[in-house]
Symmetry: C2
Subunit: 303 residues, 2 copies
């Protein structure tokens, strides 16, 4: 393990989808844990995970976490409460529990009350993903150069927080500690609202009577395809995100709709100046993202 | 030239931005024209185009089109009327005029009345682009495997239409002939509305008081960055698109907003079933786009 932190002896990964399987690949690539134990509630995913060699795959969630010094819940945020309840009896004092969910206040609310005394909860959110789901989608490099946000409660043992941060850094991520409520607002605008809008426009296009589905597919290179990529993300994961970050998402959506009405009015009245000024401003923001290293210019990505 | 069409003797490209410069590269790579003459209204772009070797770059638009058997207007759709007026006196009978704009009814409206008798107007729209603008952004492969839509008026000489179609096919594109009004509706949903929404959300994010610009940049990998890529497109080109395809864009925007209100309501009332059903449906649409060959799965694009 990098930094000065010792590796974990036994890591239990609960949930072997894109994120869980990528953690398994990355942990073994970087030697961050002695043993990797994996569990998934779906038998067919456990079978597939065994075929893929994702670690010691067990059929019982208790067997997965028994003796583990680090447990990661890599499951939809709506499922962490039940999972915490299921693992609680098997957790040993000193163990650290983390997760990978995209909403963090609900993790503190649903998980913290269920853990035994002496077990540390350090919620984390690796801001990384692809359009694919399931154990076959994972790869070791998923977290490289991406941010991972930790949102421990104020009274969490700083040593536990630092061990989890060092874990993600060992997988190639940059880490930041943030208040859970603030995290949920930041992600509402940088991730949840973009997904909501992408899901919505893909539906709008599909519902048109005058434009065929085949035409939408064929001419999607004009912009639409980038939305479809986002709108292909895991349905259950995203359902849970919206249900668990309702307030922040609705607030951002309200602002978005208000701004869109102003833009609609500018188009209706032919207000060229307003349109051009906005489009110049947003181009500058794009340059900031590339400067921040969180994307590459499109032409460098061409195959 | 592929197919059975002879190459053009003298191609004049008016406008040397991303599209015009890419045409110049592609035409020379594929030997589709004897001579390539280029003009741009901006002197600094002409200078740069000379440095880049984009063809015979001339300082007068009349000199560019004099003697040309094929003229392509690769300029914002709001500028084609004035350009058509400027080139009209120099066009010879039998010459073909085309363009590359993303709105097509306005091209027929603004250009057709200005052309001399015997000159053929075959509007075209290569559905291809990147987030970059200007003569340095061009590359020969831009049009490969992309669709190019031709929208000639009903009474246009079929031989002229076929020559333009063969031209785009020689550059690697697939071509389709479509009614201009239908084109404008199809592109309103597959390209114009996606851009409008991307521009809008980038602005909404930038206006937030509680989330810093630096946070938006850092955590953009969660979805936002794909919108910023779209929102970095050329401001003048996009201003003109919205002003010239107003009716279709406003119609699609009205549907989008209506659908978004329904989604907002589902989130507010915790309607898990509605959310999950929609997200499953949009994932299937994404699969259709990949099957249609208009995008690659994200993980294949990783550098």
């Amino acid at each position: 393990m990098t930094d000065t932190q010792p590796p974990f002896e036994r890591l239990a990964i609960i949930g072997l989808g894109l994120i869980g399987s990528s953690i398994s690949h990355a942990v073994r690539a970087h030697g961050v844990a002695g043993t990797v134990v994996g569990f998934d509630a779906a038998p067919e995913i456990r079978t597939r995970a065994r075929d893929l060699g994702l670690g010691d795959i067990v059929d019982d969630i208790g067997d997965a976490v028994r003796g583990a010094d680090f447990v990661i819940l890599a499951i939809p945020v709506g499922a962490v409460g039940a999972a915490a309840s299921a693992i609680a009896p098997y957790l040993e004092a000193g163990a650290i529990v983390s997760d990978t969910g995209s909403v963090k206040e609900s993790i503190l609310r649903d998980v913290a009350p269920q853990l035994p005394k002496g077990v540390h909860l350090v919620p984390s959110h690796p801001v990384a993903g692809t359009e694919f789901s399931g154990p076959d989608a994972g790869f070791a490099a998923l977290f490289e150069k991406r941010w991972c946000i930790l949102t421990p409660a104020a009274d969490t043992d700083p040593a536990a927080v630092e061990r989890v941060a060092a874990f993600w850094r060992a997988l190639g991520s940059k880490t930041e500690v943030m208040d859970a409520a603030h995290h949920d607002r930041v992600l509402a605008i940088t991730s949840h609202l973009p997904h909501l809008i992408a899901y919505n426009i893909v539906r709008t296009a599909d519902d048109l009577e005058t434009v065929t589905e085949s035409e939408v597919f064929k001419y999607s290179a004009g912009g639409f395809r980038d939305f479809t990529r986002i709108a292909a993300s895991d349905p259950v994961m995203w359902r849970d995100i919206f249900l668990n970050n309702k307030e922040a998402v609705l607030e951002m959506l309200g602002r978005f709709t208000e701004d869109l009405s102003a833009l609609q009015r500018a188009i209706r009245w032919g207000d060229a100046e307003t349109l051009e000024a906005l489009f110049r401003r947003t181009r500058d923001i794009r340059r900031g993202i590339i400067a921040a290293g969180q994307d590459e210019p499109e032409h460098l990505k061409k195959s």
